[in-house]
């Protein structure tokens, strides 16, 4: 029992975080909002091997467990990455491996192409226009179809850094995709929440009213302390969910949704009118948080699973069950 990242894992996550934060600056994001082309960092991610985190070594991957991908997803959320990197590296790649689509897999890992998912729990394909192929998920796995076989219709997200499309084809739920999707979306939500708290802290230190920084008022302090607490008590259940699956996955996604909604509401309150505008960058992270709350299973989807598990099921609950049954 050592419920921490190993040093190597930590280094890998830090490396990803360094490139996310270093490259996807606020300036870059503002530029994309103003019309600059997105997904420009794709090749760079590939060069760093970031698409191969979950791929096997024979496919030039790093064979890391999902929990490492969760650590990287948290960093991607924190950075507000517009590229749909997390879904591709965290879901598309392991699905392609499972489907033995070696050729596509190589191209994805090398950053040559991007692939989209057509799947019920994530009904809008982000950056669908840039996809070379799509995986139509099915219970047993799925099948790959070329871009030309799919008609995409745009959908309009409040997040100016999401480019959504609806496909004319339909997939079925797939266990791997759904589990990875929920865990990694939860991790991104925690990263977003951390960023919103950080921005609020900075704003509250700078902004003065009544002759002192607003961050010195208990009302501001206590609200931010509450969000911080929720974040710190959501990350571990996400890690557990990544390692163990099962009910922890639903717990993790719901906890992350609630934390992110609270973080966003608190952050805008601390920012005052400023947070309600494009004058500060908070809105980019807040909107991403709203979008991801509904992606890969909304609160109701996951809560219904827990209704079955906790209230109606014969599950063993109580002390000693949380880590039980693990290898």
């Amino acid at each position: 029992m050592d419920f921490r990242f190993t040093e190597d894992q930590q280094d890998l996550i830090e490396a990803a975080k360094t490139v996310f934060d270093g490259e996807n600056t606020l300036e870059r994001m503002r530029g994309i909002v103003a019309g600059n082309p997105p997904i420009g960092l794709w090749k760079q991610f590939a060069d760093l091997g970031l698409f191969g985190i979950l791929a096997s070594e024979e496919n030039d991957g790093l064979s890391q467990p999902l929990v490492v991908m969760a650590g990287i997803a948290e960093a991607a959320g924190y950075a507000g990455l517009p590229e749909p990197y997390v879904d591709v590296a965290g879901i598309v790649v392991p699905l392609l491996s499972q489907l033995k689509e070696t050729e596509l897999l190589e191209k994805v890992i090398s950053g040559e192409i991007s692939l989209g998912l057509i799947t019920p729990l994530s009904p809008h394909v982000n950056c669908g226009e840039w996809c070379d192929h799509f995986i139509i998920t099915s219970k047993s796995g799925g099948r790959c179809v070329a871009r030309s076989e799919v008609t995409l219709e745009p959908r309009n997200s409040i997040d100016p850094l999401r480019w959504l499309y609806k496909a004319d084809l339909q997939g079925e739920q797939n266990e791997l995709a759904d589990m990875h999707g929920a865990v990694l979306t939860a991790a991104q939500l925690i990263g977003l929440s951390m960023r919103m708290v950080e921005m609020s802290v900075e704003y509250a230190k700078d902004r003065h009213q009544f002759g002192k920084p607003i961050g010195s008022f208990q009302a501001v302090k206590h609200q931010l302390a509450n969000v911080h607490t929720q974040i710190e008590f959501t990350r571990p259940i996400i890690h557990l969910a990544a390692l163990k699956g099962g009910a922890a996955v639903h717990n993790a996604k719901i906890a992350a949704i609630d934390t992110a909604m609270l973080a966003a509401e608190t952050a805008i309150q601390v920012h005052g009118g400023m947070g309600y505008t494009y004058e500060v960058d908070l809105h980019l992270f807040m909107k991403r948080a709203w979008a991801l709350c509904g992606d890969w299973g909304d609160r109701h989807y996951h809560m219904k699973k827990l209704e079955d598990y906790v209230l109606n099921g014969g599950a063993n609950l109580g002390p000693g069950e949380t880590f039980k049954g693990e290898t």
């Binding site: 009904p123 745009p154 309009n156 009213q209 009544f210 909604m261 494009y278 809105h283 609160r299 109701h300």
Partner: protein, 385 residues
């Protein structure tokens, strides 16, 4: 206690309903924070005014019907029931007009109220400054008397509607060297005055809902002073009372939203987990509580009471209920919640829009933190320091 409507009030309700059934736009107008939407909303104000529906509680001479506040509540109920457009004139008719009626000269009433009622002149509020938000007494924009004019220099921000509006009511420092609450005055300023520059501010949905206003020696006739010179704080507090207390947010708006939330819930019910029903009920309960409290407040006001610190409780309650209600809607919509408009956007993004607006509720008209301070200190009697 008597909670029955008079037969006049019942007839009035029927009249409002009938008129709105004929005249209210059949589909939602574009947002009044766009140039096109602003003008369409202005036209709607004109339509309302033509048949004297814009301000039923105003005196007849200024374009109203001279009715009591209960009739105004009835009007609001029918108005939101008909899903009629939001009032682009709201800063004027709900915030400035009561102040003009209380503090204005006869000439000011005659000059400003009728075009406000007709939508010919639309008003923005110019109080906050970059350094004076929650701490409004920190206002630095100054107005210097020069003969029969004031010359205004400084900067205002968070001025809603100011991008397209015609006039603003500004709170400025008229007494040189004065500090905090003293030496302030309320002055009415045409937004096309020479020396006045507006910088639009994009709000969450990207539309320019606010402006920053830069005053560079803007000359305004001295007769545009509203209320006593250097006594602007008192005048402003009266406005803040109206804003937080009663006029700006009548219960009907929230009750209409709660009824729509119930429908949204019913449409999505099968997909939803067990807890959300109670959240929907809770939203409805809150709007009913707000309505009952408002009728009780109106009864007191009609009997001569004035609204004071209790308006802070009012503001806390409606802003919390509004945010909770829209948060519930966001949760119900799931993956569709992020859709701003267009295909698959439920109600064409109205709930998302409403959620974003509800997030501003605890901020504008005095942050909720300030309201809680006011309640704790002035109503409960807790020590300031």
């Amino acid at each position: 206690m008597d909670i029955s409507y008079t037969s006049e009030q019942k007839t009035f309700r029927a009249e409002v309903r009938d008129w709105l059934a004929v005249h209210a736009p059949k589909s939602r107008l574009p947002s009044f924070d766009t140039a096109e939407g602003f003008e369409l909303h202005r036209e709607w104000e004109h339509t309302l005014a033509t048949d004297k529906w814009g301000n039923v509680n105003w005196p007849v001479e200024y374009g109203g019907r001279g009715l009591d506040l209960v009739s105004w509540l009835i009007f609001e109920e029918e108005y939101y029931r008909a899903d009629a457009p939001l009032r682009v004139s709201q800063n004027g008719i709900f915030l400035l007009a009561p102040t003009i009626m209380e503090y204005g000269t006869q000439a000011q009433k005659a000059r400003f109220l009728p075009p406000m009622a007709s939508g010919e002149e639309i008003w923005a509020q110019a109080w906050s400054e970059p350094g004076a938000g929650s701490d409004m007494a920190a206002i630095r924009t100054k107005a210097v008397k020069d003969g029969d004019h004031y010359v205004i220099t400084g900067q205002k921000t968070w001025s809603s509607r100011a991008v397209f509006a015609d006039w603003c009511f500004a709170l400025v420092r008229t007494e040189a060297g004065s500090e905090r609450h003293k030496g302030l005055s309320k002055i009415l300023v045409p937004l096309d005055s020479p020396g006045l520059t507006r910088r639009p501010i994009a709000q969450l949905d990207g539309d320019p809902g606010f402006a920053e206003l830069f005053f560079d020696e803007v000359r305004v006739p001295a007769e545009n002073l509203l209320g006593p010179e250097h006594g602007g704080w008192g005048v402003a507090m009266a406005t803040a009372g109206f804003e937080r207390g009663l006029l700006l947010r009548s219960p009907a708006r929230f009750q209409a939203a709660a009824a729509r939330l119930v429908k949204l819930y019913q449409q999505h019910k099968d997909r939803l987990s067990g807890g959300v029903g109670e959240q929907v009920i809770h939203a409805w309960m809150n709007t009913e509580r707000f309505c009952a409290a408002t009728y009780q407040l109106v009864s007191r006001v009609q009997a001569g009471a004035s609204i004071s610190s209790e308006s802070s409780a009012n503001k806390l309650f409606w802003s919390d209920l509004d945010r909770h209600m829209h948060r519930t809607a966001m949760s119900i919509m799931g993956a569709q919640a992020e859709l701003e408009d267009g295909l698959d956007a439920i109600d064409n993004g109205r709930w998302l829009d409403g959620y974003m607006f509800s997030l501003a509720g605890p901020i504008y008209a005095g942050t909720n933190e300030i309201q809680r301070n006011i309640l704790a200190e002035r109503v409960l009697g807790l020590p300031r320091k």
